[in-house]
């Protein structure tokens, strides 16, 4: 595996990964140890050298498998409780353009295209706005609808009323550690 060549998606999936890398990823999904030399601590747990662990993490960053490295905030615990999922029914030929424009809005934290499931579910574009208060989120949404001229599009706002679970992805199989 060379750092310069981006791997095809399948090649970074679990089955083809060296065992030590899989262990490292499983450990990292639970968070870094808060020790003065966290990579060294991880290296000991994964059966690697500290330099190898750092090289691995840097390569995963360069390849885009790691999107960011840092503090993963639980927004609800900070009082950012109004988490609104907005769903839109956008004509297929416009969905990419509108998705990209919505994604540029500062208030929009996530924006995806997903399939419709007719007749139950006619919406194909999803975005999220987080805020401390519902009125504030709705006001943001109203401004976005006006600014991007989306008033004609059928849309719904699904506020979350309770978080039963909110935690990071655990992609590596449970037996990996």
């Amino acid at each position: 595996m060379s750092a310069a060549t981006p791997l095809p998606l399948d090649a970074v999936r679990s089955r083809d990964e060296p065992a030590a890398h899989r262990r490292l990823r499983a450990l990292l999904e639970q968070g870094m140890p808060l020790t003065p030399r966290p990579w060294q601590t991880l290296a000991e747990q994964a059966g690697m050298a500290e330099e190898q662990v750092m090289a691995c993490v840097r390569r995963w960053q360069a390849e885009g498998m790691i999107k960011r490295l840092g503090l993963v905030v639980r927004h609800r615990r900070l009082g950012i409780q109004a988490n609104a999922m907005m769903v839109w029914d956008v004509p297929d030929e416009q969905v990419e353009e509108i998705g990209r424009r919505l994604a540029q809005e500062a208030a929009v934290t996530l924006c995806y295209r997903r399939p419709r499931r007719l007749p139950e579910w006619p919406y194909n574009l999803f975005c999220m706005i987080h805020g401390a208060r519902r009125e504030r989120v709705l006001a943001e949404l109203a401004m976005i609808v006006e600014r991007l001229d989306l008033g004609e599009l059928e849309h719904r706002v699904l506020f979350s009323t309770h978080a039963y679970r909110q935690c990071g992805g655990r992609y590596v199989g449970e037996g990996a550690i």
Binding site: P36, L102, A132, R136, Y164, Y171
Partner: protein, 161 residues
């Protein structure tokens, strides 16, 4: 219950505002953070431990790209409101569920299922759907235009709540 912004001083806020991304990959990352914030490595580690124990942080570490790190899928079910908690518990008990929210809609439970690969994801979803006994809306991501939850914390707005 959530924490109040007054529980977090400028060092806590600095950590949260600056280091949701860009934690350096060097031998002593927390020392590097400490130098930038004008404090000690020990203090940085102590603050991070406190934020973790308060539940303000779920972890310190990497956020993996869903599409590259494995398989995941957003799903929803419509269940009677009065038995919603029981359904939510069944969903949480299934392997691979990492988000599970109640939302205001007929589809009132929304969750994200993850797995090491697509066949395992499908198997997990099928097993859970059978367990729940209600049809599951499966909404895979077809394209992501923006996926980043490291947005700035609106401290001032939170002070007023």
């Amino acid at each position: 219950m959530h924490c109040h912004p007054r529980d977090f001083d400028s060092l806590d806020r600095g950590l949260i505002d600056i280091y949701q991304r860009g934690l350096p990959v060097c031998n002593r990352p927390f020392l590097s953070v400490a130098e930038r914030l004008g404090t000690s490595e020990t203090e940085v580690i102590a603050r991070l431990e406190r934020l973790l124990s308060l539940g303000v942080l779920s972890r310190v570490g990497p956020v993996f790209d869903h599409a590259r790190a494995g398989a995941s899928l957003l799903a929803a079910v419509a269940v009677p409101e009065e038995t919603r908690d029981a359904f939510a518990e069944l969903i949480n008990a299934a392997p691979g569920v990492n988000h599970n929210y109640a939302r205001e809609h007929d589809y009132n439970l929304w969750f994200v299922m993850t797995a090491p690969d697509e066949p395992e994801l499908e198997a997990r979803l099928d097993a859970l759907e059978a367990r729940l006994g209600v049809p599951m809306l499966r909404l895979p991501m077809l394209e992501g235009y923006h996926i980043d939850l490291s947005f700035p914390i609106p401290w001032a707005e939170l002070e007023c709540t």
